[in-house]
Symmetry: C2
Subunit: 209 residues, 2 copies
């Protein structure tokens, strides 16, 4: 079973290098290469490629936009970004756009070929430097803001209920205390967090990116 593969890469020398590489690889059926997003957008849907290698920096529309558009119509196609960009935001955007892999151009040819096999086998090939950035984004998430650490257990409990949208009265019932006590806790929470509304407190403690 050979894998139908196309590539989108504007730099002629790299494109031809990749072409030669994949044409010479077993189990890969090289289909076509494109030098820009527009032509890829037109022709790729008809090719039914199983895997598409996409560069990000393209003339005009970026590879990320290309993936975003194509991945909606070509659900069974896997897109691998092949770029030298290591910027976190770019990486995240590409992954959100629908990329199933992100490998650096600096990888060895054999790794590039292997990536194609891997993505077809249900894996997501990612260069380790890229993976580090991706993993980094996880860590931030659970870094309890110093604000949060300064809250007492009871205060955390109450703020947690507030975050779920409960009213003071409901919190009071849940915790078997009076709503006046809930108020007091919330007043103290606000003071510790230096805010003065529920939403501000939540944004401070559970930031949404």
């Amino acid at each position: 079973m050979s894998i139908k593969l196309s590539i989108v890469e504007d730099q002629k020398d790299i494109r031809e290098m990749l072409e030669a590489l994949f044409k010479g690889s077993s189990n890969i059926q090289f289909q076509k290469s494109f030098a820009d997003a527009e032509s890829a957008l037109n022709e790729l849907p008809d090719l039914n490629s199983e895997v598409v290698l996409v560069d990000i920096q393209l003339p005009g529309k970026t590879g990320i936009d290309l993936i975003k558009q194509l991945s909606e119509s070509m659900q069974s196609t896997q897109f691998i970004v092949c770029s030298s960009i290591e910027d976190s935001e770019t990486i995240f955007e590409a992954l959100r756009a629908g990329a199933n892999g992100y490998i650096l151009k600096s990888e060895t040819p054999s790794k590039l070929v292997e990536s194609v096999y891997e993505v077809q086998n249900g894996g997501s090939p990612i260069s380790t430097q890229i993976a580090r950035k991706v993993i980094g984004s996880f860590k931030d998430k659970e870094v309890p803001s110093s604000d949060w650490k300064n809250l007492s257990n009871r205060e955390k409990e109450i703020l947690d209920l507030l975050s779920k949208g409960f009213r003071y009265k409901e919190v009071a019932i849940k915790l078997f205390i009076s709503t006046d006590t809930v108020r007091t806790h919330i007043r103290n929470i606000y003071e510790k967090l230096q805010v003065n509304s529920r939403t501000e407190a939540l944004n401070k403690v559970y930031p949404r990116n």
Copy 2:
């Protein structure tokens, strides 16, 4: 420069296999292996290992808890999870706990060794199957909830400001409309979302995991 390495793995046969593997690898200085989290917790801080390979399923405390505790005191040490668990939640927890890599036990010995080198070079070795789960968590994030899509542009604009903690009056000023209009929009938003408070609306449209 050989890398100081320790491992935490309760299964004797696997532990001895890994030991043999790394003892026979160049540029790796095998230090010690542990069969449970407790002994690792006691002795590892003194070993100053540069890389520690950690299994998740251990008797008593899990490898995740171990990493969580150790990574606080051993900032310059890199932890790689080596497990057969492919469950998304476990993966995320491990990464949040401080793991810098997550490889499956099914990887070939040479990949295991390579992972140690990679993590020391600033990369994050991740098995491609694991990477797929990690990437998957990115995609969900930008899936606009159907609720969100049903809001008009103006409504989205207003809800966005509400999410930042602005009061009706402030929203009104920002958008050059009256606070009564803001109220009306919010009433309509709540009706579309089937909620009846700011926090509920935000939780519906921007869920926090």
